[in-house]
C-alpha cells in the first residue's frame, strides 16, 4: 500500500519545543518540583500575608510572651506581637532581599565577567584580579564592614550581599564566555560578517545564562542566609520590620523562657533556603548536558 509507505517515511519523531521539553524534564525532577512548590508557597504567603492574619506585624499588645495557642499559632514575643504574623510578613523581606541581592550581583558580576571573557587582555587581567581579591576576603566580614559604612538597613544589607556575590557570577560568566567564544557557532557568526555586539548579544549571552540561572537560584538561598546573619548581628532590617534574622537576635534572651520566639523564625529561614536549594539543584541536573541522553 503506497499510502502507508509515504505515511511512515515522513513520520518524524515529533520533538517538543524547547520550553515544553524543559517543562517535561522539570516536572519529572522531584527536587525541582518540591523546591518550586515551596518557593511558590512562600511567595503566595508573602503576597497574601494581610489576609492570613488578623494581626499587624508591628502592633504591640498586652499578651506578652505567650506560648503558641489557637489564637497565636506561633506564640507572641516580648512586645506581645504575634509571631506567626511576623514570620509570614518576614517572607516578604527575605524574598525581596534575596531577589534584589541576587539580581544585583548577577547584573554586575555578569557584566564584569562578560567584559573580561569577551575582550580578554588587560581588562581580563584587571577584572580577574578584582574577583580574586574579593573572593579572598572573608565574605561575612566584608559584608559587616560594608554595612557598617553604609549604615544598617535592609537595603544596605542587600547591597553588601550583592557585592560579596559579584565574583561568583563574574567568574562563572567569564568562564562561560570563554568557553562559548570558542564554539563553532560563534566562529560561524563571525565568519558570517557579524559585528561584535551582535555576536555578544545574540550568540554568546543567550547561551551563558543557564549556569547563571542555576547559580542564581543557589545564591538566592545563600543570600537569604546572609541577610539573616546580618540581621542577627543587628545590621539588617530596621525595626520594626519583621526580618527573620533580626527576630532571632531579638528573641535570643528568651530562648529558654519562650523558645518559640526562636524556633519559628529559624524554621522559616530553613524552609526558604531549602526551597531555593532544591530548585537550584534540580535546575542544575536538568541543564546538565551529561544528564541528557
Amino acid at each position: 500500500m503506497q499510502t502507508q509507505t509515504v505515511d511512515i517515511r515522513n513520520k518524524v519523531v515529533e520533538e517538543d519545543k524547547p520550553w515544553k521539553d524543559f517543562m517535561r524534564s522539570f516536572l519529572r525532577h522531584r527536587s525541582a518540583v518540591i523546591g518550586s512548590v515551596i518557593i511558590l508557597f512562600l511567595i503566595l504567603i508573602a503576597i497574601i500575608a494581610p489576609v492570613l492574619t488578623p494581626f499587624e506585624y508591628s502592633a504591640k499588645s498586652n499578651d506578652l510572651m505567650q506560648s503558641p495557642s489557637a489564637n497565636h499559632w506561633f506564640g507572641t514575643d516580648e512586645m506581645g506581637r504575634d509571631i506567626f504574623t511576623r514570620v509570614i510578613y518576614g517572607a516578604r523581606i527575605s524574598l525581596w532581599v534575596g531577589f534584589f541581592a541576587v539580581i544585583g550581583s548577577i547584573v554586575l558580576g555578569s557584566l564584569l565577567g562578560l567584559i573580561a571573557g569577551f575582550f580578554g587582555g588587560w581588562r581580563d587581567a584587571v577584572i580577574s584580579r578584582i574577583f580574586d581579591i574579593l573572593l579572598a576576603f572573608p565574605g561575612i566580614l566584608l559584608a559587616i564592614a560594608m554595612v557598617t559604612i553604609l549604615g544598617p538597613g535592609i537595603n544596605n544589607a542587600m547591597i553588601a550581599i550583592a557585592i560579596i556575590n559579584i565574583p561568583t557570577f563574574g567568574r562563572l560568566m567569564r568562564s562561560s564566555v570563554l568557553r562559548i567564544k570558542e564554539e563553532d557557532y560563534v566562529l560561524a557568526a563571525k565568519a558570517m560578517g557579524m559585528k561584535n555586539g551582535r555576536i555578544l548579544f545574540h550568540h554568546i549571552l543567550p547561551n551563558c545564562w543557564t549556569p547563571i540561572m542555576v547559580q542564581g537560584t543557589l545564591s538566592f538561598a545563600t543570600a537569604v542566609i546572609e541577610a539573616a546573619a546580618l540581621g542577627f548581628l543587628g545590621l539588617g532590617a530596621q525595626p520594626p520590620e519583621p526580618e527573620w534574622g533580626t527576630m532571632l537576635a531579638d528573641s535570643r534572651p528568651f530562648i529558654q523562657t519562650a523558645p518559640w520566639t526562636m524556633i519559628f523564625p529559624g524554621l522559616a529561614i530553613v524552609l526558604t533556603v531549602l526551597g531555593f536549594n532544591l530548585l537550584g539543584d534540580g535546575l542544575r541536573d536538568i541543564f546538565d548536558p551529561r544528564m541528557k541522553q
Binding site: T5, I8, Q293
Partner: protein, 336 residues
C-alpha cells in the same frame, strides 16, 4: 572455521529509560571462531558497543538488561553470570580495548601501575615480575622507551596510548580480544601501524579478535568474516570476500555504494535516503524498510529473520526468503 570461542545467539538487550524502553539490541547472532578475526560494522548507535559490553558483562544495570538470547564463551553460558564470576575471565580470557585511547587510561596512575595491576589481578606474581612482564609486552607492541613504566598517560601520544591499551589487553594472552573502534580516533598512518600490530598478535598468539568499526575499509583489510548491524540487529553476515563481492542486504549494498573509493573514480555517489530510525520509534517490521529501495508490503509489518542465502552467508531481508515464508509470516510484527 574452527570451534567457536564466542557464540552469541538471538541476543536481546533493552535499556529501560525514563522516556521509554530502548531496544538497543534486538536479535544479534554472532560467532567468533578460534583464531578468527571477525568484523562488526554498522552506523553509529546501531548497538555495536552495547553488544561487546554485553559480552564483557559491563552493561550498566540499571538501565540496561539482557532480556533474551544467550552468550556463550568457549562453550560456557555466561549470559547471567554474576559480576564476581565475570571478573575471573575479564582481562584474562576476554580482553577489551576501547575507542578513545585518550580517556581509557586513568590519568592519575602511571602506565606501569596500570599494567602491573592488570597482571596481578589474575596472576600471582611479585611486582618485579609483573613489571618485567609489562616491559616485555610493551616492547612487543612497539614501545621501547626507557622509563615508560614511570610515565603518565598524558605524556604519551594517542597512538602510543592505544598501544599501551593493547599491551594491557594482551599481556595475559587472552583467547578473545574485543576491540571497539580501536583506531577511529587515530590518524591513517598511525591506524595502519595499530592494525598491523593487531594482525601480528593474532598470528602470533592465535588470539581471536572481534573488531568493531564503522570503517568498511578496515574490515575489508582485516577480517575473515564480517557482520553488518543496522539499528540493533544483525542484517548480514558473510565471509569478507563474499560480502564485498556479493552484498545481499539492501543496506549493505547501499553502504558499499555510498562510500567514495580510492581505487576508482565515481561520478556520483549513491546515497541511502532518509536516516537511521530513532531508537524509541523503531519501524514495526523490517527496521530498514523506511529507507529501502526494494521495500514491499510485508516489510512494513513483519520482521524478517536471518536467512541463509548461500553457505555461510546470512541476510535479514524478505527479498531472499521464499514466498512461503512471507505468507507464513515467520517473524510476527512486534506489537509490544
Amino acid at each position: 572455521m574452527g570451534q567457536s570461542i564466542l557464540d552469541i545467539s538471538t541476543l536481546e538487550l533493552h535499556f529501560f529509560t525514563e522516556k521509554g524502553v530502548i531496544k538497543a539490541i534486538d536479535g544479534v547472532d554472532l560467532k567468533v571462531g578460534e583464531g578468527e578475526i571477525v568484523g562488526l560494522v554498522g552506523e553509529s548507535g546501531c548497538g555495536k558497543s552495547v553488544t561487546s559490553l554485553a559480552v564483557m558483562g559491563l552493561i550498566p544495570t540499571p538501565p540496561g538488561k539482557i532480556v533474551g538470547g544467550s552468550i556463550r564463551f568457549s562453550g560456557q553460558e555466561i549470559t547471567h553470570w554474576t559480576n564476581k564470576q565475570m571478573r575471573k575471565i575479564r582481562g584474562k580470557d576476554i580482553s577489551m580495548i576501547f575507542q578513545e585511547p585518550m580517556t581509557s587510561l586513568n590519568p592519575l596512575f602511571t602506565i606501569g601501575d596500570q599494567l602491573v595491576e592488570a597482571i596481578r589481578v589474575h596472576k600471582k606474581c611479585s611486582k618485579k615480575e609483573a613489571q618485567s612482564l609489562s616491559l616485555a609486552i610493551l616492547e612487543k607492541v612497539g614501545i621501547k622507551r626507557v622509563g615508560i613504566l614511570k610515565q603518565y598517560p598524558h605524556q604519551l601520544s594517542g597512538g602510543m596510548r592505544q598501544r599501551v591499551m593493547i599491551a594491557m589487553a594482551m599481556v595475559l594472552e587472552p583467547r578473545l580480544l574485543i576491540a571497539d573502534e580501536p583506531t577511529t580516533a587515530l590518524d591513517v598512518t598511525i591506524q595502519a601501524q595499530i592494525l598491523d600490530l593487531m594482525r601480528s598478535l593474532n598470528r602470533e598468539f592465535g588470539t581471536s579478535i572481534l573488531l568493531i568499526t564503522h570503517d568498511l575499509g578496515v574490515v575489508a583489510e582485516m577480517c575473515d568474516r564480517i557482520v553488518v548491524m543496522y539499528a540493533g540487529q544483525v542484517v548480514e553476515e558473510a565471509d569478507g570476500r563474499k560480502l564485498f563481492k556479493n552484498p545481499s542486504h539492501p543496506y549493505t549494498q547501499g553502504l558499499l555504494k555510498s562510500i567514495p573509493k580510492l581505487d576508482e573514480n565515481q561520478k556520483r555517489l549513491y546515497s541511502i535516503p532518509g536516516q537511521v530510525p530513532h531508537p524509541l520509534n523503531m519501524p514495526q517490521g523490517c527496521r530498514f524498510a523506511p529507507r529501502c529501495e526494494y521495500v514491499m508490503e510485508t516489510c512494513w509489518n513483519k520482521k524478517p529473520d536471518l536467512y541463509e542465502i548461500e553457505q555461510e552467508h546470512l541476510s535479514r531481508c524478505w527479498l531472499h526468503q521464499g514466498k512461503e515464508a512471507i505468507e507464513n509470516g515467520k517473524g510476527d510484527a512486534d506489537t509490544t
